[in-house]
Amino acid sequence: MERNNKINIRVKNISKKFCRDIRNNLWYSFQDVLKKQIGISIRSNRLRPKEFWALKNITFDIYGGEVTAIIGMNGSGKTTLTRIMSDIFQADQGEVIIADKLKITPIFALSAGLRPLFTGRENIFIKGAAYGMDKNTLENKINDIISFSEIGDFIDTPVGSYSSGMRSRLSYSIAVATHPDIFIIDEALAVGDSIFRTKCFEHIQNMIQDENKSVIYVTNHIDKVLRIAQRLLVLDKGELVKDTRDITEGLLFYVNHCFKGQSLERKNKLLDLVNQWGSDE
């Protein structure tokens, strides 16, 4: 998928393995900790008993000026991949190369880091600090965050009393205030009201007008991909099975390839949705 824009992230032969069994997982972890202490590399392409590849040999580039959607069934490795790209997980094989001085803001679970006993205003400082913002920056941005979140007078109410939509709005607004160069959104817009969601999609589209900025949008919702993506990566059982800029074609492939064994009715419904959007476009 060559493109003329700047490459912001290069994902090169990334593989990641996990273990299905908790006891084995702990034992392997213990071994890995000891190996790392004495300088033995734990990066290996061999699976130990009960391990499996959550990601296998994934390679792609992320370009500036576009929204790249990553779609796949549950357990296909989408979140693991974005956690590796965000430097939260370490890969067992391969490497992620990030353009220098680019700021990555990942949002995974929107409510993570919010403290229910504290007010929305206090939480802006808590979660904002987790994104690496300092006190002065947050004081300068707090009005923009409150305004974007549309929380209104509830901003001085404990977050524990917020609805899930309000929490999502607050969290998303804090993440937006970091002004990231690479914005990784993992299923984060699945909740919240439709008006706010539309506002977020507009914000994402505005963001990528800057050719240096990229958005990586992880989901398994076809309609959201159709709405915002310019490029589609399809993951299936840890493997990258499709990389395309023809979103309709990519989604048809996704439904046909990944929904094998699913009910025909559900599959046809999804195919209709994609085809209908394709003809509208």
Binding site: I7, R83, A112
Partner: protein
């Protein structure tokens, strides 16, 4: 444009020393986050309780009650403590709690902050520093309560008492170091961390808390003599209560060992911590 025209950062394995230096640097960039987390942890503790600070005093007060009863019943001879027994036990117990809570807080750093570690790429050292900050804030009130109690029981404070906070640093480092080892083991080797918790509980009775440093304990006296906590806890206590410098030299030796232990623990924690997050799902 092509990739090579830009400077790029690689998320790959670097030399261990470089990795630890990078960790230290990024911790400094997150100092406001550490402050916020500490503030939130301290305030959250009191937001749901009406009795608030009382719970921080309960443990040392209960220890005093139990040991004073045993002492008055003649079951137990603590030796020459140099201060009225209730005040001695209260103060010593406070110091033990200072050590034990430092250990416990830091050992829970990864599991306690698992959600935030799974969703934000923050340096792991930040959660250790937050736990230390939280622990120090919790310690201030019980420590201040000790001062009037010591004076009430006829103890005296002098210029050496001013050195007391400095002398506490090695005891803090000891707790933090053990905590950092156990923080990793708590995720990957639960049996080891449980064993460590139990060992520390036993060590409490082999440390001069409810008896004097030189009390005659029979065969246990030798174990107490070789226990580093005897000096890490005993010397600051002697400074505070103006009871002389007898323990200074062994305290210095033990401090030297504790500093080495701390650097080993920091290295262990820094190198192992990136492996921990993905294992938190299994815990």
């Amino acid at each position: 444009m092509v990739l090579e025209q830009y400077k790029y950062t690689k998320f790959i394995q670097v030399r261990i020393r470089t990795y630890i230096c990078l960790q230290m640097k990024s911790i400094l960039e997150y100092k406001f986050f550490i402050y916020q987390l500490t503030r939130v942890s301290v305030l959250a503790r009191f937001k749901k309780t009406r009795l608030g600070l009382f719970w921080m005093l309960l443990s040392p007060v209960l220890t005093v009650v139990v040991w004073v009863i045993l002492h008055n019943a003649g079951i137990f001879n603590p030796g020459d403590t140099g201060l009225a027994y209730p005040a001695y036990v209260l103060f010593s117990s406070t110091l033990w709690i200072f050590f034990f809570e430092a250990y416990k807080s830091v050992s829970e750093s990864v599991t306690y902050h698992s959600k935030i570690l799974l969703s934000h790429p923050i340096p792991y050292g930040t959660v250790v520093l937050e736990r230390i900050g939280f622990h120090l804030m919790n310690f201030i009130v019980p420590l201040l309560v000790n001062i009037p109690v010591i004076l009430l029981y006829g103890g005296k404070l002098g210029w050496t008492s001013l050195l007391f906070p400095l002398a506490l640093i090695p005891l803090l480092l000891m707790g933090v170091s053990l905590g950092m080892f156990v923080a990793v083991l708590k995720v990957v080797a639960v049996d080891f961390s449980n064993a460590m918790d139990e060992i520390i509980k036993v060590v409490k009775y082999l440390t001069p808390i409810v008896y004097a440093t030189h009390a005659d304990l029979g065969f246990l006296s030798q174990i107490v003599k070789w226990n580093p906590l005897t000096y890490l806890l005993g010397f600051p206590r002697d400074l505070m209560l103006c009871q002389g410098w007898d323990l200074f030299l062994p305290f210095l030796y033990v401090t030297f060992l504790v500093v080495i232990l701390f650097f080993l623990a920091w290295r262990f924690y820094s190198i192992s911590s990136p492996l921990l997050v993905e294992r938190l799902f299994g815990n």
